[in-house]
Structures are given as C-alpha cells and as structure tokens.
Subunit: 132 residues, 2 copies
DNA sequence: CAAGTAGTTGGGAATCATTGTCAAATGACC
DNA sequence: GGTCATTTGACAATGATTCCCAACTACTTG
C-alpha cells in the first residue's frame, strides 16, 4: 500500500509558483522566485517536488537547447508546445495527424514501446519587438 | 577570411567511427570505441570534433532521455529519427506534413526564428526479442 | 493534546557530461 | 627543413542534477 504524499508548505509553494507562471521555467528559476517571495524552499526540495509532479503527469517537462529541464503546469492530455526561447512563454498545441504519423512510422519499422518528443521553439512577438 | 580546418589524424579517426556506426552514439562511446581500436584520441578532442561536425551539419545531434547528446552521420537535408532507446539503431524519417504544420502553428502565434525538434523513440525488434 | 512514526526537508557533498586552459605537438605552406 | 597558426590532450573547472543523512514535521492514534 502506497502512502499518500504529505501536504507540506514547500510542495504547496512550488505548486503555487507553477500556477502563477504561464511559461516553462527551470528548477533553479523556480527556486529563485520562491526566494524572492520570501517563501524559501531548499533547492533539493524544489527538484524533488518537480520530479514528483512530473512523474504524476501534473506538469510537463522538456529540455531547452542548453540541456536544462524546464517545467510547466499544463492542461491534461497529450499535447506539444510552442515555446519562446527567450521568455519561456508557451502555447499548447495539438497535432492529431502527427500522432498518427509517428505511430505508423514506428510500427512500419517494428519498433515497440514508442514515444515521441515534438517541440517548436521560436521568438514570441513581444520578445521580438523588445529586441528591435 | 576563415582558415580551412586541418586534416588531422584525430579528426579523421572520429569521422571514420561515425561512418562505421549506423546508430546514434555519445561522445564518450565514440571515445571508447577509438580506444578499443587502438587509435586513441583525447576525450576533449572527440568532443571538439563532434561539435565542429555538428556545426557544419555533417552530423546530427539529439539528446536522449538522460540528457546526453548523441551524434550520428546522417544523410543531408532536414529529417527526423526513429531511434532505438537500447541500441541506438536509427531510421531516418521524413514528414512533410509535420513541417508545414509546425510552421503554420508558429506563424499563427506570431513566433519568429522557428525551429522544431521531433524524434521518435522505441525499442527495435532485435532488442525486443533479445529482452524476451 | 501528547507521543510515535514515517515521509520530508535542506544544505553540502558527490556525480557526471561537457567545456575551459594552456603548454606541447603538428599540419600547411614556403 | 623552418615558420606559425591551428590542434591536441591531460587536467581543472563548470554547472545542472542527484545523493546523503541528520534534523524536522505532517499525519495517526490514544
Ligand atoms: Zn518571449
Ligand atoms: Zn504527440
Ligand atoms: Zn535496438
Ligand atoms: Zn522537421
């Protein structure tokens, strides 16, 4: 029997940040935001909380070009992301055609336990105009 | 004026390995293979060579689930991959529909300088039967 | 409310891929 | 062969993430 996770101040604080943010953010960024808000949480705990949330599919995780893992509270169900490289602003997108295409490709080649990653990166218009 | 890169034993050795391999491999794996073959090359040099090749689009690079960067000598032109998680065996795949879809999504949302990542991971049939 | 217990925290050490450093080695060109 | 800028390689440094473990605390029970 698996014990229920405890309802701790730290976990609540991390979830609260994720609810406020609308884009992807790294564990360290979330840690910094918590520190700024005075609701300090240990860095290890931030990492752990995000892992737990990601395992439970409560948040989505992806890697940026630098290899850092970014987290975001998304809506349920399988989807992909259009992410601003500079500010993290994110649009959730769906592509039923892509899903079918990927599965078909894998099946045709005899692959099992198939999963796929698909992310679109770019510069959002507010970041683009700020840069001009 | 940019100087032409030198033709060194080390660079040739790395390229030779990439030509032999048919799947993705990490810098460290390539370094190990070189060592086994007696054609030893410093680890830093392997990393540097792969970076140069990747910048020149001579090889493709992607990250596995663990965040390691894997390299592979691929055919020219934009394409994606169906990769065996266990042995790295790779099938190059193309999805013109996906390309258009991604660009359209980005444009509709006012994103610029758009790029996308799309990889399919699974277990190839030889690895699947070996596991049974 | 008090005590017991097991999940949780935090901060510092450890890990590990990757990058930086710089003196020594070596292609390219004469 | 001589010159010189590029390249190499051993080692240090970096940086995100994980590990460790003693102290802490959210729940349960009486
Ligand atoms: Zn932006
Ligand atoms: Zn999908
Ligand atoms: Zn395989
Ligand atoms: Zn593509």
């Amino acid at each position: 029997m698996v014990e229920a996770p405890r309802n701790t101040r730290q976990r609540r604080a991390v979830v609260a940040i994720l609810e406020d943010l609308d884009g992807f953010a790294s564990a360290q960024e979330i840690h910094d935001i918590l520190k700024k808000r005075g609701e300090s949480v240990g860095l290890s705990t931030v990492y752990r909380s995000l892992q737990v949330l990601a395992d439970a599919a409560e948040v989505d995780a992806l890697r940026n070009d630098d290899g850092e893992v970014l987290y975001r509270q998304c809506s349920a169900g399988h989807h992909h992301h259009l992410v601003c490289r500079s500010c993290g602003r994110t649009v959730e997108v769906e592509g039923p055609t892509v899903e079918r295409w990927a599965d078909k490709i894998a099946e045709e080649n005899g692959f099992q336990d198939v999963a796929h990653t698909l992310e679109i990166f770019g510069t959002c218009n507010s970041c683009a105009s700020a840069r001009a």
